[in-house]
Amino acid sequence: MKKILTAIVALAFFAPAFAGVIKESQAKREVDDAIQALAAMDARQELSTFLPQKEAYTARTYCNKARNFLSDSEYDKASFYAVLSTNYSKISLYKGLLAKAEKDKLESALAGAVVPRLKSVGFKRKGSTGTFTGTFDLKAIYAIKRRPQVDAIPALGEDMVGRVGELAGVLNAQKEVKVTFLAKGGSEDHAAKYADSIKTALIEKGIEAARIEVQTKKGKDSVEITLDNVHVK
């Protein structure tokens, strides 16, 4: 009699642990799957900037909830959050892959458009190489006809600002392109000022100064810009 009573009391105590439709073994398996899916998502370092924040965060919090519910022997809830966490981890990965592919596609489209972009702002391609050259006189740079005083160099003309913007777009997309200015002027000071006007505008657009090499010499006022190693595919 005493044994029966003990058994009944024990059953009453442990009964809540067996309530619900999900078994402990299934919940454990699903929580393990969720942990693995989360680890697989975190392992994809190349996608880290493309993962959707909301889904990735949900995957993480649901995985924690699943583990907690498993510890509390609430298998239905553990299973629920584990399955959703696994799916959110995979959804994040898929969305990350799609986002990265979209970015790659846009970059390649941009690279494909490099030749017409550069041609539209006055650059000519040297054969089928990755070298482009454009020569810009005072009219093109400053919209003036006469050589200015060396201490009164005007601001870039509107057209040149547009050219610099387009050029900066290409240079920002292709970090390996090297830029060389061959500036000419009535004096070397003039030439240096002309080169400096364009160089400053490019730096303002995010181009590193170290990428631009400047040579100056006396000659007809102009700046010849050469781009080497342009990727045109």
Binding site: I4, V9, G20
Partner: protein, 114 residues
């Protein structure tokens, strides 16, 4: 002896009632943001309808994810028939989640991404 029998019956009855109580109690659940503390039949039916719509939109494509969506949708319907709204609701939400996953998986595979 008679008193012992009565005590035993009372204890058995109280144990059964306690077990039933624990199985169906609508205890306030403060931590999860989507698993509700109480699921009514209408909630389960609505979740099943949503999952069915998502599954129909997906169409059978033979993928593992779609297979899982169908499996959980069928389970949800079974639980609903067995008058277990909470289990039906949870299975329906899982089915819906697999539908979303399947849709993205298909898109990713067709783009040749891994």
């Amino acid at each position: 002896m008679r008193q012992q029998k009565i005590s035993l019956i009372v204890l058995v009855l109280s144990t059964i009632l306690f077990g039933i109580g624990c199985g169906s109690a609508k205890v306030a659940d403060d931590s999860p943001d989507i698993f509700p503390s109480s699921v009514e039949k209408a909630d389960a039916d609505a979740a099943i309808a949503d999952a069915q719509t998502a599954y129909n939109a997906l169409g059978e494509d033979g993928s593992a994810e779609t297979g899982k969506a169908k499996e959980f949708l069928d389970k949800a319907k079974e639980y609903a028939n067995d008058k277990e709204p909470e289990a039906a609701w949870a299975a329906a939400i899982k089915a819906k989640s697999f539908c979303a996953l399947s849709k993205l998986a298909r898109e990713t595979r067709s783009a040749g991404l891994k």
